[in-house]
Structure formats: C-alpha cells, structure tokens
C-alpha cells in the first residue's frame, strides 16, 4: 500500500507527515508492533535459527540440516503424521458438517433461538482442560463408566474408549468436536442472518422445497464462510495437541501421538531437557507445509468464493 501512495503522490517531508497524523498513527500502532514483535515475530525468528542449531538454550552450536535429518529419521514421525491426518479426517467428517447442520436448523427455528445459541456455545466456554478431565471421566472403560452405562441401556457396548489403539483417536475427535462446534455454529449463524429473507420468499413462490432452499439459497451465501472455516479446520486439526496430551499422552502404544505432541516430546518430553533443535525443525516443517497447503487451497478455490 505504501508504495502505491508513494507512486501517486509527491514525497512528503517528515514534518508534513507528522502534521498529517503520521506520528500519532505510529504512536498508536507502536504498542501493537512491539507486542507482536517481541511475542510473535521474535520467537518465530529465534525458532528458525534454533532449527539449525544444537542448543540447550545456553550454549548453541550450528549443525546445518542435522536436526531436519534427525526428525525425518525418527521412526515415530510417520506414525505421528498418519495419526494427525487420521484425526484431521475424522474431525472433518464429524466436526465440519455438525456445526453447519446445527446452524441451519437453528436459523429455521423462530422461538428461543438465543437459548439454542447459548446451549451450542456453552462447551466453548468450558475451559479445555476442565472439559478433557470431565470427558476422561465419561470415557471410563468399565461397564459402569458414564458413556458405557448410557449405551448399555440400549444394549450397546461397553467400549474401551481411550484404552484401545483403534478407539482412542475417534474418542478424542468426539470430544474435540463437542468442544469446538459452538464457535463454528456462531460463525455460520451470523453468516445465515445475512441471507436476505426475500430470497427465501422468492424461492418459496417458485415452489422450492426446504432442501431446495438450503441448497440454492443458503449454501451459495455461506460459501465464502465455508471455505474459510474449512481451511481453518485443517490448520487447527493439523496442530492438535491438547486432546492427545491430556487424554492419552500419545498412547496407547503411540496410537494418538500427533505431530505437535511429537514436537512437545522433542522439546520437553524428557526430564533432562529436550532437543530444541529437533523440535523447532519439525515445527518449521509443519508451518511450511500448512502455508503451502493454505496457498494451494486458496488458489484452487479462488473462483468458488462469493466474497
């Protein structure tokens, strides 16, 4: 933007710049820039440097690409990537449509819409750690566990939930979906209110069914939001950490080790101090992958967006 301004207007002196409010703009922006610089950009820069070093945070030694090689040689990396992809896929299958259906249904009800919004958003308000501890209790694998008892009434189960290598990941996704759906519902609801009511009336006059209205009126208006939430969901699930860390610690037998948990293990998993070089190297690889993925996604979907 700055170059544009410079290209079209003659160069201003610092005095005119200050008089026209440039100084106050800078002063107002400064705290934000400092905070961002110190707490976001500086650590990012430091992480890039650390990924090429062997460091214990006191003494550092340049090791070239050794950290990246060590990460790629780690037998657990493949497992972590596969687990993360599995989590992302499950979260997509369950976590992506559920809020959408919820929001569409909620937008059609006329009474007590506020109450439904509150109910949908409530899990987001519960602190994540508390939610996980609560769900850990629900996931008690014994027949007298909360979920197993409820399912037992209809003759299903008991399920081992977190105590089984196959079941553990879907169990994490179930909780994560419950915890995150509320936020997405609110976004969809907001987008839905922007759909002009006369479009529905027109569709109704044309004899459209409920499904027809959703498909031909609602969805096209939601497309922009849907595209954004989709990529946010992918980025979010690729960085899943809280659930595996708190529920299973990556177990049983590494069935829920995710990329971020592996990064944490590299850095802090061992009491004797971690391999910060490997941790930052893997972080960087993940960041680059997600950036490339996002770029590709936006290029591919450029024509689909309404906004």
């Amino acid at each position: 933007m700055a170059t544009l301004v410079h290209a079209t207007r003659p160069r201003r002196s610092p005095v005119t710049w200050a008089r026209r409010g440039g100084l106050s703009t800078l002063v107002f922006a400064l705290p934000l820039l400092v905070v961002f610089g110190v707490f976001s950009w500086l650590p990012i820069g430091r992480a890039i440097v650390m990924s090429f070093q062997e460091t214990n945070l006191v003494v550092s030694e340049w090791v070239g690409l050794d950290n990246f090689r060590a990460v790629l040689d780690d037998p657990l990396l493949g497992r972590a990537v596969a687990n993360t992809a599995w989590f992302a896929l499950l979260a997509l299958i369950f976590g992506y449509p559920v809020p959408l259906v919820g929001a569409v249904l909620m937008s059609t009800v006329r009474r007590m819409r506020g109450l439904y919004s509150v109910l949908a958003y409530l899990p987001v308000v519960v602190p994540p750690v508390v939610a996980v501890l609560l769900w850990k209790f629900f996931y008690d694998p014994r027949p007298e566990g909360v979920f197993n008892q409820i399912l037992g009434w209809v003759g299903v189960g008991p399920f081992p939930w977190l105590q089984n290598q196959t079941w553990a990941m879907p169990s994490l996704v179930l909780e994560a979906t419950w915890a995150a759906a509320g936020g997405t519902v609110i976004i969809y609801l907001a987008a839905l209110t922007s759909v002009p009511a006369e479009l529905y009336d027109a569709a109704e006059v044309d004899g459209a069914s409920l499904w027809g209205k959703i498909w031909h009126v609602t969805m096209p208006h939601l497309r922009g939001v849907l595209l954004i939430t989709f990529i946010l969901q992918i980025i979010g699930t690729a960085q899943v950490f809280l659930e595996p860390y708190l529920f299973t610690g990556g177990g049983p037998n590494n069935a829920t080790v995710t990329v971020l948990l592996l990064i944490y293990r590299y850095a802090f998993g061992q009491s004797l101090g971690g391999d910060y070089g490997m941790a930052t190297a893997l972080s960087l690889m993940l960041a680059v992958l997600l950036a490339v993925l996002s770029l590709a996604y936006f290029r591919l979907t450029r024509g689909w967006s309404t906004s």
């Binding site: 006191v58 105590q163 049983p252 037998n253 061992q270 009491s271 004797l272």
Partner: protein
C-alpha cells in the same frame, strides 16, 4: 516462546537476589546442631526468601499444616530466611519445561539418575562450599553421594528425602474379601497372577495394576525385568552400551501382563496410570496389588488419605540367577541461577528439612511428632542415605511416633537389607522408560500383540538412542 518468560524469570530472580549479601552467620550455633556457623561474620544477614518444595499437589490439609509448622520452626532458627513452599511432583514429562521456564522453586528434587546429565549441562548450582558446611558431609553413602557429584569433584545435588527399593504394595481388605490371607502375600510372580485372578473373581475388583504412562510404566517394567533376572542395557568394555530390551525377563513380564489382561481380565486396564494416578486408584480401592517404591505409603497417606490399616507391603518376587531389586531415590538440588545467599539458605533448609531428621535426635523426634499429628506416615521403610546403623538409630528415636503398620510390612522389611540391589539404567534412562511405556500399553490394549516383534522393534530404537550419545 519460552525465551521471554525465561528472561522475565531471570530478571525477577536477580531482582529478588540483588543486594543480598552472602551472610550465613547464625547467632546461636547451639540452635543449629549440624551446620557450622562461619566464624568472623557478625553482621546481621540480609532478609531472604527461599522457595522450596512443599508437598505433592492435592495433599491433605493436615499435611500442609504440619509442613507450615515445621517451616515456622525453621524460620525461628533463621529469622532472616522466609520459606515459601511450592507444591511439586517430579514428572519426567514436565520437569524439563519447568526447568526451562524458570518455574521450579529454589530448592527442588530430582531423581538420582538425572543428576549427572543436569550437572554436565550446567543446570544445577554448585553446592560444594555449602555442602562442606554440613558436619556429616563425610558420612553419606558414597555411591549415593557420587550420583550428585560432578566430574570436577564438586557436589551439585545432595541425597535427600528417600532412597527406595521397588516393592509390591497390596490392599489387605481385598485380600480378605477374596479369601486370601493378608499376612501371607505372594512370593512368586505366578502367585501374583493367581492371587490377582482370585481377587477379580471374588470381589470384581482388579487384582493387579501397573503404571503405564509418563515413563513410569517403563520404570516399573525395568524393575520387573530386574526382579526376573534381566537387564535393559549392558556396558561394553570399550565404554559403549548395548540395549538389551529384547531379553527373556522383559518378555516374561509382558506376557504376564498380557495374560492378566486378556485371559484373566484381572488387571486394571488403564494405560494412563502413572505414579500419582495409580496411587489414587489404589487408595480408592480400585486395585489390589501394584509395584512402586517402598516409600509410597507416605504419599498414599498424605495425598490420598489412605487408611494404613488396609495397607500391606511385601518384597518384589525375585526369580532367576541375576535377579535384583531396582533402587532409586531423590536428590535435592538448587536452581542454577541462585546466588551465594540463596545457596546458603538452601543448604540450611536441606539440612533442616531432609537430613537433620535422619541424624539429629531432637529434630528426628520433633519432625516425626509433627508428621504424626498431621496424619503423615512415620517409619515407612526406606533404604539408608547414610548407613544401616544410622537408619536403625533414627527409627529408635522415632519409635513413639511411628504410625505405619510395620507388622503389615514384614514381607518387605524382613528382607530389605538382604535383597540384591540394582541401580536404574545409567544411559538414556528416561527415554528407555518411554520406550517401555509403549510396550506396557501395547500388551494392555492389543490382544493379538506380537511381543517378540514389539521388543525387537523397541530394542532397535533403544540402541539408536545409545548410539546417538
């Protein structure tokens, strides 16, 4: 990420310490039985605040009250020191983050096996000068002291709290309900399996459980390997090490766990159990037997409110030619950024809180009295930090206040000094435990697990860890 936080912590620490002079003169040496007052320092020492480990988070209020009482007595002895207790439980998976984040107290506890590397990394304060002040500095068990001594011969970490041998803990009530004699605990692994199955059959409660997470599963798997005559790594003549996870003893114990899980359904199928949570489950009556350090009753009483009447302790069954008991323990260390004044206050605290209670009659009696009144265990069997004679002397001093049921622990106390002991693996200890965690989790969650293939794979990873050194 961490850097700003570390920097803040450092600034705070230095600000706190700024201007504090290294004063360690004690006005009345008579009050201070074991620390030599330094001659020639008459100046009143400057006020200092020392943060120390108090109890495990979630401990009983009475235990905290007892801690506060002892702190008050310490502060009376050294009016210029203000002690700030910080709740703390050492965990392999969080310690490094706490250390890097600067959130550990000034005086904290580390396992015996970690000291050497922490010293090498320059992460522990040099306590040599302060250690020399202790008038019993020469009386420590040499091997234990060596664990906290650096290559420069300086002492960086001091044996403290307790040295334990791994033993078998059991719930006497569940034994009785299952028709077993609680005074006749199992002495072989086959009997452990048999008893566990019977308890499950008769009471519906899991007969056995094992830690499986946060490296504690591997720690107990190693203890079981030792008890069955195996080792998880071996030193070669050329100074290198060979991983031996793929040994018969480890295999036998994994098969034992697998059978308890899938044939008898007699084991608590929870792969998230670690040191703290298995204690909780045991105190809540969810399992009848488990293995852990011999001193765990203290924690069961002060943190989990266990009624000692239901508690039984017996020795690990030892089988095989080279079987031994895994021993481990705790060292007290001081934050590397501590200045001389902090280190001096720290050694006074280490002396008062951890060691004088083992060596000084007055302190031993007082400490056991306060602990007894606070419902904390007194007399729980541990291995001696100094010598067996000193340990027996200490128990004699504390006799009036012993509140743990020693007659329910004879299965262990009768043999504790006769069992061969084996130290924890000396190389890559925690990463080895981490690998074995996944083995324990695999046999508990996969009925069709191929134990041979599993161990072969883990052994390869373990060897890679050793080769990377």
């Amino acid at each position: 990420m961490r850097s700003p936080r570390t920097a803040t912590a450092l600034v705070l620490t230095s600000a706190l310490a700024a201007g504090l002079l290294a004063g360690c003169a004690n006005d009345d040496p008579a009050e201070d039985p074991s620390v030599d007052a330094e001659a020639g320092e008459d100046a009143e020492p400057e006020e200092i605040t020392l943060s120390v480990v108090s109890l495990i988070p979630g401990s009983e209020p009475e235990a905290f009250a007892a801690f506060d009482e002892r702190v008050a007595e310490f502060e009376e002895m050294y009016p210029y020191i203000t002690v700030e207790g910080v709740e703390y439980e050492w965990r392999a998976t969080t310690f490094a983050a706490q250390l890097a984040g600067g959130t550990l107290p000034d005086v904290y506890e580390i396992p015996l096996t970690d000291a050497k590397t922490l010293i090498q990394n320059g992460q522990l304060a040099d306590l040599d000068a302060e250690f020399a002040q202790l008038d019993y500095a020469n009386e420590f068990n040499e091997q234990l002291l060596a664990a906290g001594t650096g290559e420069d011969g300086h002492v960086y970490a001091i044996p403290a709290k307790s040295i334990y041998g791994v033993a078998l803990h059991y719930n006497r009530d569940l034994f009785e309900q299952a028709g077993l004699d609680p005074d006749d605990p199992p002495t072989t692994w086959d009997e452990v399996a048999e008893y566990a199955a019977q308890i499950k059959r008769e009471t519906g409660v899991a007969g056995f459980a094992t830690m499986a997470a946060n490296n504690t599963g591997g720690w107990q798997m190693t203890a079981a390997t030792y008890a069955r005559g195996g080792r998880v790594q071996e030193a070669n003549e050329d100074g290198t090490y060979t991983a031996t996870l793929d040994n018969d003893a480890t295999r036998a114990h994994l098969e034992f766990l697998h059978e308890l899980r899938w044939t008898d359904d007699a084991i608590l199928a929870d792969t998230t159990l670690d040191w703290g949570t298995i204690n909780q489950a045991f105190a809540a009556g969810q399992l009848a037997m488990y293995t852990s350090g011999s001193d765990v009753l203290n924690s069961l009483m002060e943190t989990n409110g266990l009624d000692p009447a239901t508690y039984g302790l017996t020795a690990m069954p030892l089988e095989g030619d080279d079987a031994g008991v895994l021993v481990g323990g705790t060292l007290a260390a001081v934050n590397v950024s501590a200045d001389d004044a902090t280190k001096d206050a720290a050694i006074k605290w280490i002396d008062f809180w951890y060691l004088s209670t083992l060596r000084d009659e007055q302190q031993a009696v007082r400490d056991s009295q306060v602990r007894n009144e606070g419902g904390q265990g007194v007399g729980t069997p541990v291995l001696p930090i100094f010598s067996r004679e000193q340990y027996e002397q200490e128990l004699e001093w504390k006799a009036d206040y012993i509140n743990v049921p020693l007659d329910q622990m004879t299965g262990y106390t009768d043999v504790m000094f006769d069992q061969p002991v084996v130290g924890e693996p000396s190389r890559q200890t925690q990463p080895f435990y981490g690998l074995l965690d996944s083995a324990v989790q695999a046999v508990l969650t996969d009925e069709g697990v191929d134990i041979d293939a599993l161990l072969a794979d883990l052994n390869e990873q373990a060897q890679a860890l050793l080769d990377s050194e």
